[in-house]
């Protein structure tokens, strides 16, 4: 909900307008940052699809398919963290700060769980199928580059959310002034949504 001056009853109008306008700038800037990050992903995805369709067949001969069931489980973990993040922000907006903290902790735990799952998947691929980043042709190159890039985003997101949780408990945000939390939620949803795309193109189609 955009904050306009009229919704803040007791503030100094100048300061509140400054906050509203600054918030608007930051929101737009952050969304545009997400757009450019999306372009970064889509370029590498284009590269992957281009190589995948270059006639070698997919998965390339010599590689068996990825473990879809485990990936589905791990995806659900990540998607679930998106839902908990949504509840965290909703609770903050309604002033339920304790519930907010609980949902945030759940989000962080699920995010870390997804990372562990991905680590397990990498380990299995490397140990059992001898798939590596540089030694497995375009299969290893595109799979590890894209999922690794995404994993790095999740990792950064877990740290980001932890910092936000600490800031929130230290009283940096108020019920109406919490752009940091909004940005964190946007970022986390972005990471989830990218995974919908990566999950589809690597495991499903």
């Amino acid at each position: 909900m955009a904050i306009s001056v009229s919704q803040i009853p007791h503030g100094d109008p100048n300061v509140d307008q400054l906050y509203a306008e600054t918030r608007d700038l930051r929101l737009n800037g952050f969304l545009l940052f997400m757009v450019s990050d999306l372009v970064l992903f889509s370029s590498i995805i284009f590269a992957y699809l281009y190589l995948r369709n270059s006639g070698q067949g997919w998965p390339p001969p010599g590689f068996s398919r990825l473990d879809v069931a485990f990936a589905a489980f791990n995806s659900v973990v990540l998607f679930g963290s998106g839902v908990t993040m949504h509840f965290a922000l909703e609770n903050w907006k309604h002033g339920n700060f304790i519930k907010f903290a609980n949902w945030m902790v759940a989000t962080i735990v699920l995010g870390a769980g997804f990372l562990s799952g991905q680590g397990y998947e990498y380990w299995t691929l490397y140990q059992k199928m001898h798939v590596s980043w540089s030694g497995s042709g375009i299969f290893g190159a595109s799979f590890f580059t894209l999922t690794g890039m995404h994993g790095f985003h999740v990792f950064a997101g877990v740290i980001y959310l932890t910092v936000l949780l600490l800031q929130a408990t230290n009283g940096k945000y108020t019920q109406h002034k919490h752009f940091g939390l909004t940005a964190g939620t946007l970022y986390w949803h972005f990471v989830d949504v990218i995974w919908v795309l990566l999950f589809s193109i690597f495991y499903l189609f």
């Binding site: 270059s54 006639g55 070698q56 067949g57 390339p60 001969p61 010599g62």
Partner: protein, 368 residues
């Protein structure tokens, strides 16, 4: 002062019309000069093949149109800059005619370029189709393989590579497949007005018909390393056909025992009887399809497409310069290949048994 100019009636004076007429004369001269220009008579750049004359027609059309546009734009630009320059007699705050736009004029200078663009697009597409899809059935199929920093050629019926200049008979349509063994090169025949990049792992095709005997340059136009600037060869267009045949026969004799015809020694040891094409198809999907398509030769993935490899007379005879036979295929499957077209692992590297080879050859033989 300024007030007078506020709501002007657009008035084009005599100077404007004089300049317009002058520019029309200049444009007419430029168009005339373009039409009268005959590139085929230029010693540096004769038209030596079928698409060349059409490309030059396109060039002349473009030049004539561009000359008219350029002359008018720059002519008006210079004339306005001089005619409407501020004079010493003008007051310091003098302003120009305050018009913001003129919808009719803007409409016209949108419509005219659009029409020009459409005409150009139609013209280009027509010539483009002629260059791309003029595929002769009975032509000569030649291959050019780029290396740092020279080109090699392969001719039907010639064992191994031809290191000479490229020779072509006059008037015979040529299908030229180009590829590279290392980095990207580009194969430019300036006198034929065509070019294709030689890309490792890919085959590009040029189609043209030499129409003029003589020797013309072949130039590499894609940067390919230290000596890129020296990577030139020549194409010799020979007349009559008999002379070309003599040249080709010379290479056939010279390369008769060329060891790189099949770059593995000895004969194959695989018993091919009882090969099962259906079983071969399964092995092909597992072991071969990463590098070979079941398509025409030019559909190269890592190696060439294998459709009709043992049957199609137009299929470039990469194997040994003659129609490939099942034994050749078996030999390559068994011992691998390492030559200008790239590298193929041998049977043990690929993990295929003698039985698999027999099945694969049966499958390849079934591709027609």
């Amino acid at each position: 002062m300024a007030v007078e100019n506020r709501d002007p009636a657009v008035h084009l004076d005599r100077g404007f019309w004089l300049v317009t007429a002058l520019l029309a004369v200049l444009s007419a001269l430029a168009v005339y000069a373009t039409i009268m220009w005959h590139p085929e008579n230029m010693p540096q750049l004769p038209e030596a093949a079928i698409p060349a004359d059409q490309v030059d027609q396109l060039f002349k059309f473009l030049t004539a149109s561009a000359a008219v546009i350029f002359i008018y734009v720059v002519g008006y630009l210079v004339y306005f800059a001089i005619a409407f320059r501020v004079r010493a007699s003008d007051p310091p705050d003098a302003v120009g005619v305050q018009i913001h736009d003129h919808h009719q004029l803007e409409l016209w200078w949108t419509i005219i370029p659009t029409v020009f663009t459409i005409v150009l697009a139609i013209f280009s597409v027509k010539i483009w189709a002629g260059v791309q899809f003029a595929s002769p059935n009975n032509g000569l199929v030649v291959e050019a393989i780029g290396h740092q920093w020279f080109d090699d050629f392969r001719y039907p019926g010639v064992h191994g590579i031809v290191t000479d200049e490229m020779h072509l008979p006059l008037g015979v349509p040529v299908t030229l497949h180009v590829t590279s063994s290392d980095v990207i090169h580009s194969f430019w025949l300036p006198s034929m007005r065509i070019k294709a990049d030689m890309i490792p792992g890919m085959i590009n095709t040029l189609r043209f018909t030499p129409t003029r005997a003589g020797t013309y340059p072949i130039i590499c136009t894609e940067f390919c390393g230290t000596l890129h600037g020296t990577m030139n060869k020549q194409v010799v267009v020979i007349e009559p056909q008999a002379n070309f045949d003599k040249w080709l026969a010379g290479w056939k004799g010279k390369n008769k025992n060329a060891s790189d015809a099949i770059p593995v020694a000895g004969t194959g040891t695989v018993n091919l009887t009882g090969g099962d094409a259906a079983a071969g198809q399964k092995i092909f999907a597992q072991k071969c399809s990463a590098c070979h398509a079941v398509g025409p030769f030019s559909q190269k993935i890592v190696g060439p497409g294998l459709k009709g490899v043992l049957h199609d007379p137009a299929h470039p005879k990469l194997v040994n310069g003659e129609a490939a036979n099942p034994e050749d295929a078996a030999k390559i499957l068994q011992k691998g290949y390492d030559g200008d077209m790239g590298h193929m692992p041998n049977a043990s590297q690929n993990g295929i048994s003698d039985k698999d080879i027999a099945n694969l050859v049966a499958y390849l033989n079934s591709l027609k």
